[in-house]
């Protein structure tokens, strides 16, 4: 076996892939969250629509979009693969297993949280990506992305689904952010405390902003 395939197929190599794709998704999410937060300017979605327009037509952004989908798919498939492999490493389970004594529940539930995220993403892509990229609805000027938001979030069940998606994201990131650095081999007395608190605040701030979007639109806090 060549050195590269040996690396990629090893348990550590798989973790490295999780870490790299994970950090890539974290960076994307920061940009996504920033752009969407423009709705809070409360100008009837004018600035946000402009930004969305720019994102839809910029060649660099559209190219990154391909990598984003690739990264997400690799991350999700590898995540599922690892989760099943890990579940199988202990075929006879413990009668009593006190995991809470030594680790956080969400660190032990990354596969479940990731699956919830994947389900949420299907819904989310259908609501916005499909409509803005694969239909003429927005490019034709018939509707704006902000208008689409108002339509989608009018439904309280959709708002509830988005909140569940965001909560899954919070916990996935609460473990995942710092875990990615550990997987990539960065654990240092000097930097790790900083990475951990950065990861904590990143997870909280991103989640609060994302949760506020459907709520604010639904309840008409922003017009």
């Amino acid at each position: 076996m060549g050195a590269f395939s040996f690396l990629i197929n090893s348990s550590i190599g798989k973790k490295i892939i999780m870490g790299i794709t994970g950090i890539f998704l974290v960076v994307f999410l920061a940009v996504h969250c920033f752009v969407n937060s423009l709705i809070f300017v409360n100008d009837g979605g004018e600035l946000f629509n402009k930004a969305a327009e720019f994102m839809a037509h910029n060649i660099l952004i559209r190219t990154m979009e391909i990598f984003l989908f690739l990264g997400l798919i690799i991350h999700a498939l590898q995540g599922m693969n690892l989760t099943f492999k890990n579940m199988n490493a202990r075929k006879v389970k413990y009668y009593k297993f006190n995991g809470n004594a030594n680790s956080k529940w969400y660190s032990r539930s990354m596969g479940l949280l990731g699956t919830l995220l994947a389900l949420f993403l299907i819904l989310h892509l259908k609501h916005f990506w499909y409509v803005s990229r694969l239909t003429e609805e927005i490019t034709s000027g018939e509707d704006t992305l902000f208008g689409e938001m108002k339509e989608v979030f009018a439904n309280p069940i959709v708002v509830a689904a988005y909140i569940i998606g965001v909560i899954s994201l919070t916990y996935h990131l609460l473990h995942g952010f710092q875990s990615a650095f550990q997987s990539l081999g960065l654990n240092h007395r000097k930097y790790t405390p900083f990475i951990k608190s950065l990861g904590f605040w990143y997870s909280i701030i991103i989640s609060v902003l994302f949760a506020a979007m459907p709520l604010a639109v639904h309840f008409g806090w922003i017009k």
């Binding site: 050195a3 590269f4 040996f6 690396l7 090893s10 348990s11 550590i12 190599g13 798989k14 973790k15 490295i16 690892l82 492999k85 890990n86 579940m87 199988n88 490493a89 202990r90 075929k91 006879v92 389970k93 413990y94 009668y95 009593k96 297993f97 006190n98 995991g99 004594a101 030594n102 680790s103 956080k104 660190s107 032990r108 990354m110 473990h175 710092q178 875990s179 550990q182 997987s183 990539l184 081999g185 960065l186 654990n187 240092h188």
Partner: protein, 254 residues
């Protein structure tokens, strides 16, 4: 001094690797709080023997926290409710009179049960034989400071070398991952001069053997380090990941 204790034990019994196994319940009375957990098992086994029953098989050797044999999964945790100790260092005063205590063997595909609470940990031996050694004869111990090693490196190597191969990390991990053990064994040599020539080859061989034995992959829950009697740090796993990537990307090999 507090009074003696009466306890109920639910212990895993399994005749052999082929047997399905089940829990058996025992009462032990008049247990001194100053006894170790293993001494309490000795009392129980004496009872069983005097009644003509089969004693419970469990691993133990040094009974002072250095051999790593005393694998018992007690009330849902390896080596019981305390941190930084092995089962032989666990005192009965950590339990209350009237408690029911559940005792299971380590559970992992890579650690098959041999009998009752005894598991086969030779997977660890095979990982060490794959690369956890230095092939050249380094002679007698050198005079102090003859080979300068920085304090930092010496400390890291020493802390990693404290691993006693008990397998509590695997037992505690939801993925039955052996990464804490393997990383300690890799890292202890990676920081010392005699470990340098075979450094890359060692990382490849040991990780490869670890995967072959059927241990799970790490998800950084930290359960291993929290339950490790020698408190081996997660820093070792991060260092091993670097070491392994370097060994495959930078180092040229066949």
């Amino acid at each position: 001094m507090s009074g003696n204790m009466n306890l109920t034990l639910k212990v895993w019994r399994q005749k052999s690797n082929k047997d399905k196994g089940n829990f058996e319940e025992f009462k032990v009375n008049d247990i001194s709080p100053d006894m170790s957990f293993l001494e309490m098992f000795d009392v129980l086994n004496e009872q069983l023997i005097s009644k003509g029953n089969e004693p419970i098989a469990f691993d133990h050797d040094c009974r002072e926290g250095i051999c790593g044999m005393c694998s018992m999964f007690i009330n849902g945790r390896p080596h019981g409710p305390k941190e930084g100790i092995t089962t032989c260092q666990l005192h009965m005063r950590s339990f209350a009179d009237g408690d029911t205590i559940i005792v299971e063997p380590w559970r992992a595909n890579a650690f098959p049960v041999i009998k009752d609470l005894v598991v086969d940990r030779s997977a660890f031996d095979r990982i060490v034989s794959a690369g956890g050694f230095v092939s050249v004869n380094t002679g007698n111990a050198q005079d102090g400071n003859a080979i300068p090693i920085s304090k930092n490196d010496a400390d890291i190597a020493f802390a990693a070398a404290a691993c006693i191969g008990c397998g509590a990390c695997v037992a505690a991990c939801k993925n039955a991952s052996a990464m804490l053990f393997v990383s300690a064994k890799i890292n202890q040599l990676a920081h010392l001069p005699q470990g340098q020539p075979e450094r890359m080859q060692r990382a490849r061989a040991m990780v490869h053997q670890m995967d072959k034995e059927g241990f799970g992959a790490c998800t950084n829950t930290g359960a291993c380090s929290a339950e490790c009697p020698k408190e081996i740090s997660l820093v070792n796993i991060a260092a091993m990941n670097c070491e392994f990537v370097k060994a495959n990307v930078v180092d040229s090999h066949e």
